[in-house]
Amino acid sequence: MAPAAPVLAFAPTPCHPPPRECGRLEVVRFENVGLRYGVGPEVLRDVYLDLAPGSFHFLTGPSGAGKSSLLSLLYLSRRPTRGRIHLFGRDMAGVSRGELPAFRRRVGVVFQDFRLLDHLTALDNVGLPLRVAGVDDRTIRTHVGELLAWVGLADRLEAKPPTLSGGEKQRVAIARAVITRPQLLLADEPTGNVDDQIALKLLTLFGELHRMGTTVLIATHNQPLVERLGHPELRLEGGRLNLRERRDAG
């Protein structure tokens, strides 16, 4: 599925008791994870988290609760100060620095502030993850063109981010996050600066990827949207994580 054939086999972690979990492989597993910045207080405390393949979760919580921090652990921007994180069946504590890029390429991220490169066109921005993975230019151009058309930016391929509207930038950022068909898609406030209607459309896009088997985790403040879509909600409060199922809605 990924463009650059991943080096990693999707091999299950060695399975110790409890045997109930044997054979089932989480895309993400946190065990007793804690995170602190410098000598500050723990931003995340005793976090346990399992994300099954193909699941869709919202990550909510008051401002400063640690949502972005939790996501940054998932896209391997930092390591936890304690506890274990398993990604795609591998204990990240045992993964060398040289192996990390291959893991990062299996995770798509929509950053809260987009992080588009202003001097590159929309086309080049979206193609960046493929280029980094060594895909050739022609393949990149075709796939990026198709994807940008799919998010409704067919006529903005050569536009540079400073000339794009907020919503357009957001779509470029989303396209860049999904261009490699990541197994895990993370989005940090992807509906932060768009109106509800566009927000809903963006989420439809995530739903589409979810239907194709991508595991999705979206951090958001937008409670009405969470209620409306009815996916389970992971709530961060006081550095701890609680799961709220929402089977009624949808």
Binding site: P3, T139, V178
Partner: protein, 323 residues
């Protein structure tokens, strides 16, 4: 966003086909030359090649000088090794021994000396020419001149200089043989010293080049910090990010190197021409010229390589701090 935009599954690349070795090699070469992300060096992109040019110019001149000196020394010594010169002082007025007689006696001694292959007196015109710088074009026909005898030593043989000198002095008082050894030793030492100084200078210049490139690269890293963070997070290996800079550094090093080499070559050619204008027969500047400078063309890829390696190492070291 249009409502129908999200209809259907998103397109995406298929698994990459098995690529042939050749194709991958080609892609690697392309990756080195393609302007990938335009993570340029900012304002340093012009002053870095200029600095490299100055440093290559300097090393080019010094190396050309040292090479010329050691080349000249080698030529001189090649002409002197295996040669002995016997000097017979000019007959003073009233000296019973005429010049012809003196030469005959010395020749007789040389003929008896083991190791001597051939001995020949320098013609009077050659001696006059050798004296010309001191006495000018004066008519020397009436003046008694010393006689020089060129002795060729048989290949592999040595002449016992001390014994020869004793025999010579007996035959003709004041006649002496010289095998130029002291001169040769001094010449060799001078050439080696010049070469060593040149090499030390090249080492210093190499360090200076690497340092300047590292400095400029760090500035470039700071300038593009956010882009580099992003590349890192989307799974770019360190080598990929480093290439963005090292490829630029390679080009800047090559450009600066070429410029510096060109300047040094022009300077050397000008010096050579000026020297030829003084005296076309001058042996030393005759060696200065295009040929040794062509050998120094190696400085151009060397500058490129030093710049590239320095940039690569600088970026990798900076990236190692990221998780």
């Amino acid at each position: 966003m249009p409502a129908d935009a999200a209809a259907g599954p998103p397109p995406g690349p298929k698994r990459r086909d098995q690529t042939s070795l050749l194709e991958r090699a080609l892609r690697t070469v392309l990756a080195w030359t393609r302007g990938d992300l335009a993570l340029a060096y900012g304002s340093t992109r012009l002053h870095l090649p200029a600095l490299v040019a100055a440093l290559v110019f300097l090393s080019g001149l010094v190396l050309a000088g040292a090479a010329t000196l050691s080349d000249a020394a080698q030529r001189w010594s090649a002409g002197l090794v295996g040669a002995v010169t016997v000097e017979i002082p000019a007959a003073a007025a009233g000296d019973p021994l005429a010049t012809v007689e003196r030469v005959a006696r010395v020749q007789a001694v040389l003929a008896r000396t083991p190791g001597v292959a051939h001995a020949e007196a320098l013609p009077a015109e050659r001696i006059q020419a050798l004296l010309a710088p001191w006495v000018g074009a004066a008519d020397l026909s009436g003046v008694p001149l010393p006689v020089l005898i060129d002795v060729t030593v048989a290949g592999g043989a040595t002449v016992d200089l001390r014994a020869l000198n004793v025999a010579l002095d007996e035959a003709v008082p004041g006649a002496a043989a010289d095998d130029h050894r002291r001169w040769l030793v001094g010449l060799g030492r001078l050439a080696r010293l010049a070469l060593a100084v040149a090499l030390v200078l090249v080492a210093v210049v190499t360090i200076a080049t690497a340092g300047a490139v590292a400095f400029a690269t760090r500035a470039g890293l700071a300038l593009h910090e956010q882009a580099i963070d992003l590349l890192h997070l989307i799974g770019a290996p360190d080598g990929y990010i480093a290439r963005q800079f090292s490829r630029r550094a390679l080009l800047m090093g090559l450009a600066g190197g070429a410029l510096g080499w060109l300047a040094a070559t022009l300077a050397v050619l000008m010096i050579a021409q000026a020297a030829q204008a003084i005296d076309p027969g001058l042996p030393l500047p005759g060696l200065l010229g295009l040929a040794p400078m062509l050998k120094l063309l190696i400085l151009v890829p060397a500058a490129g390589f030093v710049a590239m390696a320095s940039a690569h190492w600088t970026v990798r070291r900076a990236l190692a701090r990221l998780p």
